[in-house]
């Protein structure tokens, strides 16, 4: 079988000093509001480097007025749950971490998820999705290695 191999010229980014490429989503299904509430946590260094590469300018997450919109755009490309119509409602920054908040109407907890932030850039990227219902964990976190696409979140 022959498949096309596409070097991602614009996605080459430098290795960063923390030596650990990890992203995490707390995906909470709010049974009362019937919404899916996501807190997507990413390393600020990685996100900043990636946005610089994508947009070809020396963007800084904590000072660029466009940073939140650009970060939201990237996360919406790389995070998905079932057919949920995700909307990014904002970003919160600390020195080391960026947390993006997404939500979508959802009649029930999601069955499948896809979490590929940085997966195309770091072979050792590990992402996890922790599914919760009304803020209580419903099982162990589901790991997404760099090559993983859609995965079931519950049985």
């Amino acid at each position: 079988m022959r498949r096309l191999l596409l070097p991602a010229i614009t996605s080459a980014i430098l290795a960063t000093a923390h030596q650990f490429h990890f992203g995490h989503i707390d995906a909470n299904w709010n049974s009362r509001a019937k919404t899916l509430e996501l807190a997507v946590r990413l390393h600020a260094d990685d996100l900043e480097q990636l946005l610089r590469q994508r947009h070809g300018r020396p963007l800084e997450l904590d000072r660029d007025p466009q940073a939140e919109a650009l970060a939201c755009s990237y996360v919406l490309e790389t995070v998905a749950f079932d057919q949920a119509r995700l909307r990014c409602i904002g970003m919160e920054m600390t020195i080391h971490q960026a947390t993006l908040f997404l939500e979508a109407p959802a009649a029930e907890p999601p069955r499948r998820g896809r979490f590929r932030s940085f997966s195309a850039h770091f072979p050792d990227q590990i992402n996890t999705i922790q599914l919760l219902t009304d803020n209580r964990r419903t099982g162990p976190a589901i790991p997404f290695m760099a090559a993983d696409q859609w995965k079931p979140l519950r049985r």
Binding site: F20, N28, D62, Q83, G90, T99, I126, N135, A147
Partner: protein, 772 residues
């Protein structure tokens, strides 16, 4: 809360038993002797070097030329190897770390596949059109008489066969030469490399792991010739170095060791400023930004040879460029005069001139307080292509401001943090010479812990990445969580595993388990015992127990040998009161309890119905009128008789105001931790109860703690100061509290909370939506 009366017997307090769950099959307090190596005359059971401890030594005389035109290193060395072991050696092993850049190196061969739909340019380049081919070209190896010795390459290792066996106590001198192409950091990053600046056509070189270095030979592993795959850094032997570095004559060279020929390589102005810097309270510019700028535009008209001597170091590195600004400040580190120096290009300012040398001095002050006096005369921080890497007396640090000279808070703290970390590595592993090829955590984890202490003394609320327990929770819950005691090359996520988790563990050990006094004494003892020696993990574990007087095997087992996490749950609180047997007290209490019982739905609905006895009151008899909660005379007499039979001190136990609370605790995460409780009483007062981890010694999965008190408990919070890395805070309260998610807090606060870092966002485009 369930309330129950306790029937007092006179043996009540000692015989009452709680907790009905099944015992855990494994004793988490069992000693580590089943895992740790047996103590011997080289390493004692107390964790100290034994009376026959030995280590090898290697002294180097090196001449090296930096080829600035072709980016090559050309070197030659004479090595004196001293066999202090009790063994006779027939061959020697040397490390050839540059060979990871060879075409068929194990490093790319053993890499697993990246995402093949979109993969990064450096990987594409390496796999296809323009791979960097480096690695050593080694010349003949000769003994002192010039005789050629047989050499055998094994990827990143080289064996040199000795002409005759080297007996214990003997030394062997041999020479060799080499050269290699320096990796361009833009294409192939690593711990060493060259950075090209297109706008002025100049290079910065950070040269490390650049010469054939003697592999370690020790009492635990024999020869440490585990192949270098890129992660497990190295371990080496101590020795004295005399190194001659030849570079273009307009370069400034920063190096391990003390410069021996300043008259030949420095200008009179440089020398005069350097002298001034020795006693200056602030960094002094030895090469100014304007001088560095001017040098960028010039061309060399010859070469200069810089000569450095370094005593008792395990390695040697240097940096060279005509772009370097150079500042220095002399500092007395508890009696030892040290020259702290920074080398950086104009591109590093204004960040570097403000923070680098200050951070060096701060590091030396704090680390020396917790370990030993810094023993070297030099401490250097260099800005260049390497993000962060340590060598004796010199380290390479990457953060820089933007081209317009502005920088974010993250860049600022990234620089301060990395300088503290890399300078701190002088202590671990450059002086306490642990084996990083095997155990990354033994230097990186300890160093990250000390980095946290140093950062917290830099400014109030310094935003440390690692150290606080809450920072490691996410990793300990993740599928990437390996035990800390995992080989450097096998760890999935090196940063949190070998840096963050041990830093947190040691912080918890200091603050929560031992307390600062016991911990600091024991930690200093470990540092002192193993200064200029080679410790193993067991030596650390044993010394910390030996010097603190505390059995910590359960702690090492949970935090270092498992991938469990911390999650203790407050399951249930049951209140017990004393059964005084006094009907005057007990009957009203029983009545009150009865009245507080819930009324069933049917009873509520039936209450207004007219009853037959309303129409025929003659149907009511004694039993309808009897108050079952009124004390009977016989009961009162029985109580008086009972009390008469008691001794005076026994009567005191019938105190009705005493409460006994049985608190059920469950260990969900697996890692044992102390139980820290904040108890709030109905009168509004609070009390903190700090229960050692030994509460789990008979039942490691669930226990019940009895809390006797005259007050009534309103609420209990577990781990109120967030000191244990508890992963689930929702089960840390009695009664249970609703814990809001980060999402909900963000949404609630969004309208009236602004992140000061994000000021100026008012012009930002509205966040996009997408249909998936």
């Amino acid at each position: 809360m369930r309330r129950a009366a306790v029937l007092v017997s006179l043996t009540f307090l000692s015989s009452l038993a709680f907790g009905q769950s099944r015992r855990s099959p494994l004793d988490k307090f069992r000693q580590l002797e089943e895992i740790l190596p047996t103590p011997n005359e080289y390493r004692t059971a107390s964790g100290a070097p034994g009376h026959k401890y030995w280590q090898q030594r290697a002294d180097y005389q090196i001449a090296v030329e930096l080829d600035d035109v072709n980016q090559r290193i050309i070197g030659s060395a004479t090595i004196d190897y001293h066999n202090n072991s009790p063994d006779t050696l027939r061959y020697l092993w040397l490390q050839l770390d540059q060979n990871i850049w060879q075409k068929h190196s194990d490093t790319p061969l053993t890499e697993t596949a990246p995402d093949l739909k979109r993969f990064p340019l450096p990987i594409a380049r390496r796999l296809m059109d323009d791979p960097f081919e480096g690695g050593y070209t080694i010349g003949p190896v000769r003994d002192a008489s010039g005789r050629e010795l047989h050499q055998q390459m094994n990827r990143t290792m080289m064996r040199v066969d000795l002409p005759s066996p080297l007996a214990s106590g003997q030394s062997f001198r041999f020479s060799l030469s080499w050269e290699y192409k320096i990796n361009n950091s833009k294409r192939t990053s690593g711990r060493t490399g060259a950075e090209f600046f297109k706008k002025d056509g100049n290079w910065i070189y950070e040269i490390a792991q650049w010469f054939p270095r003697m592999a370690a030979y020790n009492d635990v592993t024999g020869w440490q010739h585990k192949q270098f795959l890129g992660t497990g850094e190295f371990t080496l032997e101590f020795g004295d170095y005399q190194v001659k570095i030849t570079a273009p004559n307009d370069h400034i060279v920063a190096s391990t060791g003390v410069l021996q020929n300043p008259l030949e390589v420095l200008s009179p102005a440089n020398r005069q400023r350097l002298e001034q810097a020795r006693t200056s309270p602030k960094p002094v510019l030895i090469v100014t930004p304007a001088e560095a700028k001017a040098a960028e535009k010039g061309k060399p008209n010859g070469k200069k040879t810089w000569v450095f001597h370094a005593k008792n170091v395990r390695d040697f590195a240097f940096a060279s460029s005509r772009k370097f600004i150079w500042d220095a400040q002399g500092h007395n580190v508890s009696g030892n005069p040290v020259m702290a120096m920074s080398f950086y290009p104009n591109e590093g300012n204004p960040l570097w001139e403000r923070y680098s040398t200050q951070a060096i001095i701060h590091t030396l002050n704090i680390y020396s307080r917790y370990t030993f006096q810094y023993p070297y005369p030099i401490a250097i921080s260099v800005n260049g292509p390497v993000g962060g890497m340590e060598y004796p007396m010199i380290c390479f640090n990457g953060p820089r401001p933007l081209e317009d000279g502005t920088y974010s808070q993250r860049t600022k703290y990234a620089l301060i943090g990395v300088v503290i970390h890399e300078v701190g590595h002088n202590y671990f592993p450059m002086i306490v010479n642990s084996d990083e090829r095997q155990w990354t955590w033994l230097d990186e984890g300890i160093n990250s812990f000390l980095q946290f202490l140093a950062e917290q003394e830099w400014e109030p609320n310094y935003p440390s990445r690692r150290g606080e327990p809450s920072t490691i929770v996410e990793y300990m819950l993740s599928p990437a969580h390996d035990p800390i005691m995992t080989n450097s090359e096998s760890v999935v996520a090196l940063g949190p595993n070998a840096y963050g988790k041990p830093a947190t563990a040691l912080n918890i050990l200091r603050e929560t388990i031992l307390g600062r006094e016991l911990f600091d004494f024991a930690f200093k003892e470990y540092s002192r015992r193993w200064m200029f020696k080679r410790p193993m993990p067991a030596d650390f574990f044993r010394t910390m127990e030996d010097a603190s007087g505390t059995d910590l095997d359960w702690f090492w087992r949970g935090w270092f040998y498992t991938n469990e996490h911390v999650d203790i749950s407050l399951e249930k609180l049951t209140q017990y009161t004393i059964d005084t047997r006094n009907p005057e007290i007990e009957k009203p209490l029983s009545k009150k309890a009865k009245e507080e019982e819930p009324v069933t739905l049917s009873a509520q609905r039936n209450k207004p119905l007219r009853k037959r006895t309303d129409d025929y009151p003659e149907l009511l008899d004694f039993y309808n009128k009897w108050d079952e909660f009124a004390p009977l005379p016989s009961e009162k007499r029985a109580f008086e008789t009972y009390v008469k039979g008691l001794e005076e001190d026994e009567r005191k136990l019938l105190d009705p105001s005493m409460n006994f609370y049985a608190l059920d605790l469950k260990n969900i995460g697996g890692v044992l931790m102390p139980v820290i409780l904040e108890v709030e009483f109905n009168d509004g007062t609070k009390e903190e109860l700090r229960i050692p981890a030994e509460i789990w010694r008979r039942q490691s999965n669930s226990v019940t703690k009895l809390i006797p008190t005259r007050k009534e408990i309103r609420s209990i919070t577990l781990d109120p100061h967030l000191e244990t890395a508890d992963a689930d805070l929702s089960n840390n309260h009695w009664p249970r509290r609703t814990v809001k998610s980060k999402f909900q807090l963000f949404k609630e606060d969004r309208d009236n909370k602004r992140n000061p870092m994000n000021e100026g966002k008012s012009d930002a485009a509205p966040p996009p939506s997408r249909n998936n």
